[in-house]
Symmetry: C2
Subunit: 341 residues, 2 copies
């Protein structure tokens, strides 16, 4: 079974492509009325994530509606802490919330190392989606990077500063490493399960990378990302560490195919820092899609030219915001698909 | 009247100093039991800001208790939007909230350009504090950078993404410039008033710098910071643009004395990017102060050595967090004061 459109996989591997491929972080979500309709039938976000039929349906929607070059499985990075023994709730307008958090060595000892069976609903959703996609475009699987998952497990919710999670790193570094290793082992199992179920590509999201100093990032985040890159290399892998401008040189040495950039990272400078062996993904400011069509087109073409024809997967520098207009998003996608170098 | 301790002013001007000077962002605040005592007598944060006697008292506390080399006037960056016609409330555990926000050209036209009379309570607090300090250490005045103030005036509160403020930049750039100019004019008036009242040094806080792309930052933030630097040069001025790693080269060209660094910015790299004509301020991760005393000392000395003996004002890369232990903060300050190159 060969994919009809494998542009993203070829771009990730550094092969020639006829045009720059494009997908969007949070492409399956509230910007689509079709998503909101499915969502309103369910109890909430988490029920949607945990029901393979519906997760499959909303995963495929943006391929049909936006015309993107890949689907990404509809899920959440917090399925891993839950599979390890810390259930979460998604509180409307507030975000994730964990009843139990990690405080002691005993708390860590009680966590299990997750395996794909603990996340059968994601695995089933991937299998269903592969059938539904019928090889039109690749399916991307994903997980949170260990530091980001660790931060939620300590804080119990989002945070402006993640100061409690960082306090744990400064005051209990050995325990922090134990927990990070357990998360890493779970994540490797989980990503391998996603590949076995049919994921054609993977992405690691280090959403809270920017909370750490360069030294702490190397010790408590990059080390574990590196383990994952070495362990999971059956399909192309992208590492996206938001705000981690300070580790771009080190990112260039990871055993992965592509590196995500946010919109604060200058494209030419990032190419120089990351080096030629990686495909870059990104990096338009999602707020550009609030502008009028002419501005969107102009700025999108400017971005494409800055990245150049090779080793680029077009995307935003962050997920789509829920109040963006679907037609503006389509304008961004179409501008990329129509552009030729 | 000469200052008994003018280390910070000399360091800012690039003159020789016997040791590295130190102050801390949010040094007057919740980490001090003495502050909490004054605060509990008042209705809340805003009443404290608006009552010169009490603002003066808490401004001087850290000089006595922590032994820092400067006081910074106890106030808030949001006094400017209020003086321009948008009153704010400080909601406990939530942060600032504006009843009215800016949406239209008419909204902007109705705003007044603030002058020091509109902010007499800050001016009076500065005068009182100068008397109370009795020339022991310099007094720092401050304001928010125009983009950060603009962001609050559009959003009406803090935000994870400041997407509404950025939407305004993308969809109504001419109006955005009008509003930014009005904020800039008000800020120049206000800072000149602070200097006239006795402020020995100034700092501009661009707290939401990291929300913008490099291009937008140059157009909508740096341009106005630059106007302020050119207009207010009676005393040394520091520009601290949190997360704005991408404009360090441009920061080096500003007509100011020092540039603040957050803890994600590598010190040697920042020196190279900003150049030798600026003093650097920062940049310890505030979370280091959760560690034990030995770690705090070791990491603080490491930081001092990385900055070197010249053109450095020691500080954190962000404000103190309220749950930090006062004695740990004193350990940081003392380590800096005891260190000799």
């Amino acid at each position: 079974m060969t994919l009809k459109n494998d542009l993203i996989l070829r771009a990730a591997r550094g092969e020639k492509v006829e045009r720059t491929p494009v997908w969007l972080m949070r492409q399956a979500g509230r910007i689509l009325p079709e998503y909101r309709k499915v969502r309103s039938k369910m109890g909430g976000f988490k029920e949607l994530v945990e029901t393979p039929e519906f997760a499959c349906e909303v995963t495929i929607q943006p391929v049909d509606i936006l015309g993107v070059d890949a689907a990404i499985i509809f899920s959440d990075i917090l399925v891993i802490p839950e599979a390890m023994g810390l259930p979460y709730q998604m509180v409307e307008a507030k975000g994730p919330w964990f009843e139990k958090t990690i405080k002691t060595a005993e708390d860590i000892a009680q966590l299990k190392t997750a395996d794909p069976d603990d996340l059968h609903y994601v695995i089933d959703a991937i299998k269903l989606t592969k059938i539904g996609l019928n090889n039109r475009v690749p399916l991307i699987g994903f997980a949170g990077a260990p530091w980001t998952i660790f931060a939620y497990m300590i804080e119990g919710s989002g945070s402006k500063t993640f100061s409690q999670a960082k306090k744990f790193l400064y005051t209990q570094p050995m325990l922090a490493h134990q927990l990070l290793q357990k998360i890493t082992d779970s994540t490797i199992n989980y990503l391998k399960g996603q590949v076995a179920a049919g994921a054609d590509m993977l992405q690691l999201f280090d959403s809270w990378a920017g909370a750490l100093s360069p030294e702490q990032y190397n010790e408590f985040s990059l080390k574990y990302i590196s383990q994952i890159c070495d362990a999971v290399n059956e399909v192309p892998l992208t590492v996206f560490a938001k705000d981690a401008h300070f580790v771009r040189r080190e990112m260039g040495k990871l055993n992965c195919n592509s590196i995500g950039l946010d919109w604060t990272m200058d494209i030419a400078e990032s190419r120089e820092m990351i080096g030629g062996s990686k495909t870059l993904q990104g990096n338009m400011d999602p707020c550009l899609l609030y502008a009028d069509y002419a501005v969107i087109k102009k700025e999108t073409i400017k971005m494409l030219k800055k990245f150049g024809p090779d080793r680029h997967i077009a995307n935003l520098g962050h997920g789509l915001y829920p109040d963006l207009d679907k037609d503006k998003v389509i304008c961004f996608v179409d501008t990329i698909k129509e552009f030729r170098f």
